[in-house]
């Protein structure tokens, strides 16, 4: 009697058996209904073909748009997440030099964040969609 009141109707043993399968079945649907925030770069290319085509030719091709531009949520209807992260902190995730010889990280062009223009944002000189080692902005201007 008390059990019928307290325990949900769909609480029972399911696929994984008596030891690992006890649960409220409707909880599975609750987890499936969590909102998807990151919609992947494939979705971005649908509207922003020019940016996509530019990026895939560069060495940054493998980086998902949402890694820097923020999660899509339901952009453009709901631009909750799209905040472009132009910060130095983002770039030095990979480009802070670490002396690990023979590893992938050791081979990425890197700087010492404390010595390489410490107060400047990387995007002042470098163009993230098609990056090169030199000051690209000055190249474009001259």
């Amino acid at each position: 009697m008390a059990r019928a009141l307290v325990v949900p109707e769909d609480f029972g043993v399911y696929e994984r058996g008596y030891m690992y399968g006890w649960h409220r079945k409707s909880n599975e649907a609750e987890w499936k209904n969590v909102r998807v925030k990151y919609k992947t770069a494939r979705i971005c290319a649908g509207c922003h073909k020019d940016k996509h085509d530019e990026l895939i030719k560069s060495v940054h091709a493998a980086i998902s748009c949402e890694n820097c531009h923020g999660p899509n949520y339901d952009h453009p209807e709901d631009p909750l997440g799209m905040n472009i992260d132009r910060s130095r902190k983002l770039c030095i995730r990979c480009h802070s030099y670490l002396p690990y010889k023979g590893t992938l990280r050791g081979g990425i062009p890197g700087i010492d964040p404390e010595k390489h223009y410490p107060s400047a944002e990387c995007v002042l000189c470098h163009i993230p969609h098609d990056p090169k080692a030199m000051n690209q902005k000055r190249e474009v201007r001259s």
Binding site: F11, G12, V13, Y14, E15, R16, G17, Y18, M19, Y20, G21, W22, H23, R24, N27, E28, E30, W31, K32, N33, V34, R35, V36, K37, Y38, T40, A62, I63, S64, E66, N67, P71, G81, K89, I92, R93, C94, S96, L98, P99, Y100, K101, G102, T103, L104, R105, G106, I108, P113
Partner: protein, 264 residues
């Protein structure tokens, strides 16, 4: 007067009679019976597994960032469903390990973060090897965290994912202690057990987990071990993969390429 033989006979009858009604009280439930058999008759055709390639990880931490946002784990709280560890083995045989903020912002300095002990400098010339190890829930075939749950709030789905029922969890923390991989923690907002679920809301829609999509180097991959044609299944079947803490008997389902013995 009752003789010895008759006494024994009657005792047997009484004892037998007491046992039968106890068994008869149990209501026959075919569903439960099927489950107790192990459910091996109707195994689904999906069993999610994960493959981490340690050679490819550079410790950028984009996976951790994406995971926290996607799964609504408070960004500045020092808890995370997935994290990346840095291992530096020096030539004198010492191993330094760190994971500042779970590598949410990547590894941007050569100094090792030792928490309250401060930073530790390591001479680059003394480094024998250095590598990054992404960690996440192993979705074990024998999940210790599920076995210890006293209320049935955590469980494994048919496709192998261990989930937590937030409305049913009482926050006792047995599972946090029970997990040999330290994957579980308390959610700072819901105050219930929290863990990686391979982004169940994404993989059940045909998408990949947020960490897999965020990784620029292909260090993280998800697959279905019940599909022999799956690229991840092929790698697990044909290459030198390893798992964490195999000796615990939990049968972890996150496989590592290039796992070194220093990794705990």
């Amino acid at each position: 007067m009752m003789n010895r033989r008759e006494f024994c006979k009657k005792t047997m009858i009484v004892a037998g009679g007491l046992v039968i009604p106890l068994a008869a009280l149990e209501v026959f439930n075919p569903k439960r019976l099927q489950a107790e058999k192990g459910g091996s008759d109707d195994k689904g055709n999906v069993r999610w597994v994960f493959l981490v390639d340690i050679h490819k990880c550079v410790g950028c931490g984009f996976c951790v960032k994406a995971c926290k946002v996607e799964n609504e784990v408070p960004y500045d709280a020092n808890v995370t469903r997935t994290w990346v560890e840095r291992y530096i083995v020096t030539k004198d045989g010492q191993t330094a390990i760190d994971s500042p903020k779970g590598a949410r912002d990547g590894f941007t300095t050569q100094k090792i973060d030792q928490g309250h002990l401060g930073d530790k400098e390591i001479d680059p010339a003394s480094i024998a090897k250095a590598f990054f190890v992404p960690k996440l829930c192993n979705q074990c075939d024998n999940p210790a965290c599920v076995q210890v749950c006293p209320v049935g709030a955590t469980y494994q789905t048919g496709d192998g994912i261990v989930l937590v029922d937030r409305s049913w969890c009482i926050g006792c923390g047995y599972c946090v202690m029970g997990c040999p991989y330290g994957v579980r923690f308390f959610h700072p907002v819901y105050h219930v057990a929290e863990k990686c679920n391979f982004c169940y809301h994404r993989i059940t829609k045909g998408m990949k987990p947020a960490c897999v999509d965020a990784c620029p180097f292909g260090a993280r991959k998800i697959g279905n071990i019940r599909d022999p044609e799956d690229p991840v299944t092929r790698i697990i079947a044909s290459e030198q993969v390893n798992v964490l803490k195999e000796e615990f008997g939990t049968k972890p389902q996150v496989f590592y390429l290039g796992l070194s013995r220093e990794v705990k």
